[in-house]
């Protein structure tokens, strides 16, 4: 219950008189049939709680614009009660942040609701090759050198927090970062899957899973295992309390069988069986796979490899995991595939809620897939342009939420 809400009886007593006055004034003017009955200030007709309710329906950028109209509106959108209102609104369509260069963290964020690109500055991140993970408006960044600097931030409010250094092997060969935020408590968990080749032992990899909990502010090492012939990479996501990460064949296996998926129950309820025994095969030979959480369902966007040459991309598919089976959701139509120009066998893809973004590393073209309507659509042209032939473009998606704090 909003603390602003009163029972109908007291509401009647408090506001009726005011409403009657304003209504009488208002109806007199409008009865004149005069279009310039907008001589009356429309927003004065609404009490604060109703105006707040309206403003809470707005996309984030519009909220800031509304806050710059007049003192009353500015006070309303800055109030704590308004932020509470916002947390009740269902998730907004995720934005996609595209980096302008490979060295600087600057770039533009795409808002699919208003179809605009904003020159948002990201806090904490130093170079585009840092690891990124996002959930419910919070984004975590981890550096790509020592893999020991970890921050959680809200890109809209720019508030951030530095977290304790992750445990386990420093300078691991591969790390995968994932995050899960609770909409109810605003607490979050961050997972890191580390892979390091066992020195002297060919095809053997030390795989460890570490978990950070914002409630305890502590790291825990949940699992350590040696994989033979497989390693983890940098693709992982948490859906509904289960951590999923992609594994890659390191040799000795069939060429078509290059990828796999390992699920790990973070609540620790799973059996003590080896993780590798529990792995799930991918639906077809892939050139690359990108994992994402769409309304707590695991979705994978994958580059489909040619039959005879599985390392060459011939299309892009979208699958959803149901239990241990993959259900195909969509295949990218040829005209969009061609629209990217030359699509490498690897590409960037990220998404949440109902939207999937796909982007080629070689250009700033951005494609959206709407899971609800099963529609493909190009974004508005990005202000970032290719300045030299080998320029690489990367990005990630996040939900714009003004009110959530790390």
């Amino acid at each position: 219950m909003m603390d602003g809400e009163t029972s109908w009886v007291s509401h009647c007593n408090d506001d009726t008189a005011r409403h009657i006055d304003e209504f009488e004034l208002f109806s007199e003017l409008s009865d004149e049939g005069n279009q310039a009955a907008s001589a009356v200030s429309l927003d004065l007709i609404l009490p604060d709680d109703l105006l707040e309710r309206i403003l809470a329906c707005l996309p984030v950028a519009s909220i800031f614009k509304a806050g710059s109209v007049c003192k009353r509106w500015h006070e309303l959108v800055s109030s704590r009660r308004f932020l509470w209102n916002l947390s009740q609104v269902p998730s907004q369509k995720p934005w996609y942040f595209m980096f302008m260069s490979s060295d600087e963290p600057g770039g533009y964020a795409y808002d699919p609701t208003l179809r605009k690109w904003y020159n948002v500055g990201l806090p904490c991140i130093e170079t585009p090759n840092w690891f990124k993970a996002s959930s419910c408006g919070l984004v975590s960044f981890m550096d790509n050198d020592s893999r020991s600097e970890l921050y959680v931030c809200n890109p809209i409010s720019r508030r951030s927090r530095k977290l304790a250094e992750p445990p386990g092997l420093k300078f691991s060969d591969y790390s995968a970062l994932a995050m899960s935020t609770s909409r109810v408590s605003n607490g979050y968990q961050i997972s890191i899957v580390k892979s390091k080749e066992v020195p002297g032992k060919i095809f053997q990899w030390d795989i460890s899973i570490h978990l950070y909990d914002s409630e305890t502010r502590m790291w825990a090492t949940l699992s350590t295992e040696v994989f033979t012939g497989w390693r983890a990479g940098d693709e992982s996501v948490i859906c509904d309390g289960i951590l999923y990460f992609l594994i890659y064949s390191t040799g000795g296996g069939a060429p078509e069988n290059r990828h796999g998926l390992v699920p790990y129950d973070l609540s620790g309820r799973s059996s003590h069986a080896l993780l590798i025994r529990n792995s799930i095969a991918v639906p077809c030979p892939l050139t690359c796979g990108r994992l994402m959480n769409l309304k707590e369902n695991l979705v994978m966007v994958g580059g489909i490899g040619k039959q005879d040459r599985p390392d060459i991309i011939k299309g892009i598919g979208i699958w959803m995991l149901r239990g241990r089976e993959w259900q195909e959701i969509a295949r990218m139509p040829h005209r969009f595939f061609q629209g990217f120009g030359e699509l490498d066998d690897v590409f960037a893809s990220s998404g949440m809620d109902d939207v999937i973004y796909i982007q080629s590393y070689g250009s700033s073209l951005l494609l959206l897939f709407d899971m609800n309507q099963k529609q493909w659509k190009w974004s508005l042209k990005c202000p970032v342009t290719k300045r030299f032939p080998l320029q690489l473009f990367t990005g990630f998606s996040f939900e714009p939420r003004l009110e959530i704090a790390p």
Partner: protein, 201 residues
């Protein structure tokens, strides 16, 4: 049923005392009668599930005194009206002194439509879109009425429609649409803009 305490009428009472006592008796008696009538009517309304009872209708009275009838089942969408129905206050016309007839008629129409069975989501959405496709000032009237009568679906619909009016507009355009009198000065606006410059480009 309480028993009336009958005062003993003795010959020693003065005339005025006797009159006073009779009057008091009469008042007590009439109170008892109206109480029992109320009990009867409460009992009968709780048996409205009998097929022979007519469909319950609630009467609403606008600010100008015009009356509008709405079926109880449609009226239940308003938490305000639902409370009144539960407490048996809905047997007489309910005065709504802050809602004009023109608006009340439309609100009744909305509740009736949303109480209908067998309407598919798609056509209801289209109907809702048409419902709010009216002048700004009318939508504001709907918001106030929906808020007063506590009709959550109508309140959401109308608030979203005003938000849609604001969405995508510049601060200057918002000022014009809503005819804001006490807008920020250019200096004040500049200061606010600077806090989140990216949203204004």
């Amino acid at each position: 049923m309480r028993y009336l305490a009958l005062p003993l009428l003795s010959q020693n009472l003065t005339e005025s005392t006797a009159r006073a006592q009779t009057l008091s008796l009469y008042l007590q008696l009439s109170l008892q009668v109206s109480l029992s009538q109320r009990n009867e009517s409460t009992m009968s309304s709780s048996s409205s599930s009998l097929p022979s009872c007519p469909k319950k209708v609630v009467t609403l009275k606008s600010s100008e005194g015009e009356t509008f009838e709405i079926e109880e089942i449609a009226a239940l969408q308003s938490k305000t009206l639902e409370n009144m129905i539960d407490e048996n206050c809905a047997d007489t016309p309910i005065p709504l002194p802050n809602i004009k007839g023109k608006i009340l008629a439309k609100v009744v129409e909305y509740c009736n439509k949303h109480a209908e069975v067998g309407v598919d989501a798609e056509s209801l959405r289209a109907w809702d879109a048409e419902f709010v496709n009216v002048e700004n000032t009318t939508v504001f009237d709907y918001i106030l009425a929906a808020n007063f009568l506590e009709i959550p679906t109508l309140l959401d619909l109308t608030c979203q429609s005003v938000a849609d009016m604001i969405k995508g507009k510049t601060p200057a355009e918002i000022e014009k649409t809503f005819n804001i009198k006490s807008a920020f000065t250019p200096e004040e606006e500049e200061q606010v803009r600077r806090e989140n410059q990216w949203a204004f480009e």
